[in-house]
Symmetry: C2
Subunit: 337 residues, 2 copies
Amino acid sequence: MNRTAVPPPVTMVLDAADAWLPMRMEAVEERLRLLVEGHGDDLAADAGATLAAGGKRLRPMLVLLCAGPGAGEPAVRAAAAIELVHMATLVHDDVLDAAPLRRGRPTVVAQSGRDRALAVGDLLFSRAFAELGHDGSERQVELLSGASVALALGELAQRRDAFDISISAERYLDRCGLKTARLFECACQIGRAGKGGELAANSAEPDLSLERALQTFGREIGLAFQLLDDVLDVTGPPERTGKARGTDLLDGTVTLPLILAREEDSSLAKIDLRELDADGAVDVCDRVAATGALERVRVDARGRVETAKHALVTSGLRPEQRQLLDLVADGVVERYS
Amino acid sequence: MNRTAVPPPVTMVLDAADAWLPMRMEAVEERLRLLVEGHGDDLAADAGATLAAGGKRLRPMLVLLCAGPGAGEPAVRAAAAIELVHMATLVHDDVLDAAPLRRGRPTVVAQSGRDRALAVGDLLFSRAFAELGHDGSERQVELLSGASVALALGELAQRRDAFDISISAERYLDRCGLKTARLFECACQIGRAGKGGELAANSAEPDLSLERALQTFGREIGLAFQLLDDVLDVTGPPERTGKARGTDLLDGTVTLPLILAREEDSSLAKIDLRELDADGAVDVCDRVAATGALERVRVDARGRVETAKHALVTSGLRPEQRQLLDLVADGVVERYS
């Protein structure tokens, strides 16, 4: 893995961890490369864009960290599977949004058209389950398919709520749970749900208290991640986010900053999102920022990161493992502050 | 299940089988209904169209027949899983083709738009693996994900070869293998690859000769099915096929009838498919038919059905099971003759 290309939080964790983690992250990267290149011509053209769209590799890192140093090849496969589902989702989301760029590179849909992008997404998705088919457990298939169902339901919910400026914070959080947090939960649980999982090997009975702790950890950092992502859409700057301020608004996606801002500035509740242009969207962003809503969202996100870290305190995880997971959790906030 | 709505080959097999088969087919139908309705609003609107698009339920029937009467609930789940993957593919294919109708009903993309159709396809696909996650075996996940990868690769191959009138018969058959036959193979193998599989229960070692026989059976009837489907695109009549003659040509999909006709009538090799309109497509269909290529394709398909049936002779399957599978194989030809 090209370490210099990896963004800060992942790099920090890699620097803090013993050699096993960078080695296994490299093994995940190698598997992803093999899987994508293994289909020859059919994928090679889009492989670069798709792999790059994966970005931070935060989810595979969570898989490996939660599985622990004792987990071997099966954890690497589970980590690759999670990332493949994530990549598939990005490719399909870009089809829906007709997005030209992701992280500054052309998307598959922009490069190769809708038809190929749809099929490439399906292929990545199928490959994810093929990874688990090789040596995964039933529980792992259950976790990953459950998260994939949630992703699709989240996408449907987002389409259904599109351009509805009156949606509630509760509904917004439900959607974030489906679209973002479930895959984080899955990433935290799946590594130790396999046959080679460190804890699975030590006890015949699954350790439910640890399972729940990891689920809470994944859920809360997933939600914090999404909340802060939605703040970034309002604040920019575009040079850093790689997209214009107010892109969500232009797509009709109402997020927590606007929902909270509506309470302070009732004129925001009357905007017709369908009529917004790029300048209008930037203007709405400024009005949202003026209400102080962004700070409220950041406080909520930081609270979730604390809840996530707290869930691990009595989980029975080894101190070194917990320390690295705490670093990941802090990194989620760090990246956006 | 509404028996009157079921097309002939499936009805014939149901009539010939003992009560266990119709009962289990009904159980599959019930699971599909539950799965689709279980997501409430998010799917209810598209559920009718999607379920109906599933059509003949040939693949679930193959799962149940190959698993045998001794297989229980796990075979029903595997049958539902196969059908869900098939349905997901249809929904996504209709997005790619912007198809208005399937079996005379509006497609999901026509009824609810591209965005919903893409997410509905993803959801059905995820649900398929969730079925296996519940009580499936690793081998079943491997089989289904392998078939799903093949479907996506087949779709990519079809897009890559689109409008290329010079593609070889070999390339065409490779594509049919990926797009159609692999899921049939999977349907024939997956029912007995589960923990509750009749044969799996009787022996610790998997019976490779039976596994190979079922794979050959699935592959050959899958290919025969596709070949005859491609003949129907040329012959119509539209009242029966539910689509205009030459629809494949208009989509740029070159199939065996045209490939063989090219050998007899070299003027067919010079057609620019991108320039065809509906009348032009019907004209090409007539010219293909005039070469006698359709009969050559039918002979090939019938030969494959015989190969399929022959593979079962020494498979060790019970005579009653074999007899019903022979009926399915004959039904594939019957439906089109």
